[in-house]
Amino acid sequence: MAVTTTVSDFDIQDAFDSLVLSEDNLVNKAYEEGLVHGEKVGFQEGFDLGNQKGAEIGSEIFFYRGFAKGWIALLSENELPGENNPKSVKALKKLLKLLDSFPQGNPKSQDIIALLQEIRAKFKHCCAILKVDASYSAKSQLSF
């Protein structure tokens, strides 16, 4: 009985449809598979890029931070009456404040490139006041 049911369910129209649409179906299936794969690979690529850029920016930020902290420590240590240079310390503290305000994440609402530019300009300002020739270069990074 079951056989006859199947036979009666069989519609020759469906068979023809599946033949005619087989190309479309395959394309759709391949598209879905490709999409899933692409998402996965794309995510990885994006993650790697973000990871790399984030590391670069982080490295630069912390280079400036080290610079600022080091100089502030040095200048306050040698702070003698009449010999201190409040202007340089002021500029360094400002730099530190900017560095502290730099977000750890990747907020869409904040223009981090503009902030980074402001930080770079402040760093140059500090260098000019301190009369030191320092600059951040990615090449000076340690590699293992």
């Binding site: 202007k87 002021k90 400002k94 530019q117 402001e118 770079r120 300009a121 402040k122 140059k124 300002h125 260098c127 000019a128 006041i129």
Partner: protein, 341 residues
């Protein structure tokens, strides 16, 4: 009929002459150029026809083209900006051999070509701008040393020109990013408080009028524009924010200059506006006194079509002698002109 008569043509520079200016007494004309020299010119009192002659050449300060030069308000110092990335300060020394200028300081910090240098009216600040997109402000110390007061990276492209407000410590800068930015000091720090957007291409130069309430700009887009300052709470309904004035473009003059306009000078005595253009011409304008001050119209008074043989790079009104104008060009010459209205 207004006229602009050539007083004299001054050869001497070996190459493009980039910039001209006057000392604040109007007695010395200053120029600089591709030949890495700064030249000082004065009126020859012995000659009957009052010609201007070169009396000093400042050399050996820079390694590359000198793009801009400026006299300090005290007239004792000269600042020059060069493509070698530095700015030199020259000081007048009086010796037995006469007056000599010596390079007493070199301001370093820009990454590459310095495009312009300008002293503030108070003499307490010096501003420089560069192809590295930054504007630097230097504080002039009493003992003649210069300390960096700020590094401003507000522009997104090459900064072409910096000009100070005639009475206040306010700086305006013009850039390849098509904008003009205004800076002032706030809580010990210099901040950008205004961005003037309207030009469609590089803003080459700008000039304040004598009051400092109006600003003229000229651009590679072949137009000149007049901007007006509207203070917070003004009665004209112009919105301001953060209690800072708004600068609004109140006049655009187009279809007059067939090529880029490289420089603009606003005479503080007569109110006349002179332009230097890539079509080798010098033009003189004035704001039509009958026109509405909130929508002024510019009246063209004079055009000298072939003022120079090549691009005119700079024009400057004499601050004291009425109607005296200096210009310089790619054709290696300076010219002095007399306006007769």
């Amino acid at each position: 009929m207004a006229r602009l008569d050539e007083v004299c043509k001054l050869p001497g520079h070996q190459g493009i002459v980039w910039n001209v200016g006057w000392n604040h007494e109007g007695t010395i004309l200053i120029s600089c150029g591709e030949d890495k020299t700064v030249r000082l010119w004065a009126r020859n009192i012995n000659s009957e026809n009052n010609l201007w002659v070169c009396h000093s050449i400042l050399s050996d300060g820079h390694q590359r083209t000198i793009r801009s030069v400026s006299f300090s308000p005290c007239n004792k110092l000269i600042a020059s900006a060069s493509f070698d990335g530095t700015c030199c300060i020259w000081e007048k020394k009086t010796s037995t051999e006469g007056n000599q200028y010596e390079c007493t300081a070199t301001l370093e910090g820009h990454e590459n070509e310095v495009k312009c240098v300008a002293w503030s009216a108070s003499g307490s600040f010096l501003a420089t701008c560069s192809r590295d997109k930054s504007v630097w402000i230097w504080e002039v110390g009493e003992d003649g040393d210069f300390e960096c007061a700020a590094v401003l990276s507000a522009h997104t492209q090459d900064v072409k020109k910096v000009v100070w407000h005639p009475h206040q410590d306010i700086l305006a800068s013009a850039s390849y990013d098509n904008t003009v930015k205004l800076f002032c000091e706030e809580d010990d720090d210099w901040v950008c408080f205004g961005t003037l957007k309207s030009h469609d291409s590089t803003v080459w130069s700008l000039a304040f009028d004598s009051s400092g309430k109006n600003l003229a700009t000229c651009s590679d887009d072949r137009t000149i524009k007049i901007w007006k300052e509207y203070l917070p709470g003004n009665q004209f309904g112009i919105a301001t924010s953060d209690n800072t004035p708004t600068w609004k473009c109140v006049c655009t003059l187009s279809a007059v200059h067939p090529r880029a306009v490289y420089d603009i000078s606003w005479c503080h005595q007569t109110g006349l506006i002179a332009t230097a253009s890539g079509d080798d011409a010098i033009r003189i304008f004035r704001i039509d006194p009958e026109s509405d001050p909130h929508a002024p119209t510019l009246e063209q008074l004079v055009t000298v079509p072939r003022a120079h043989e090549q691009d005119v790079n700079s024009v400057a009104w004499n601050p004291v002698i009425t109607g005296l104008l200096a210009s310089c060009s790619d054709d290696m010459h300076l010219k002095v002109w007399q306006y007769k209205g």
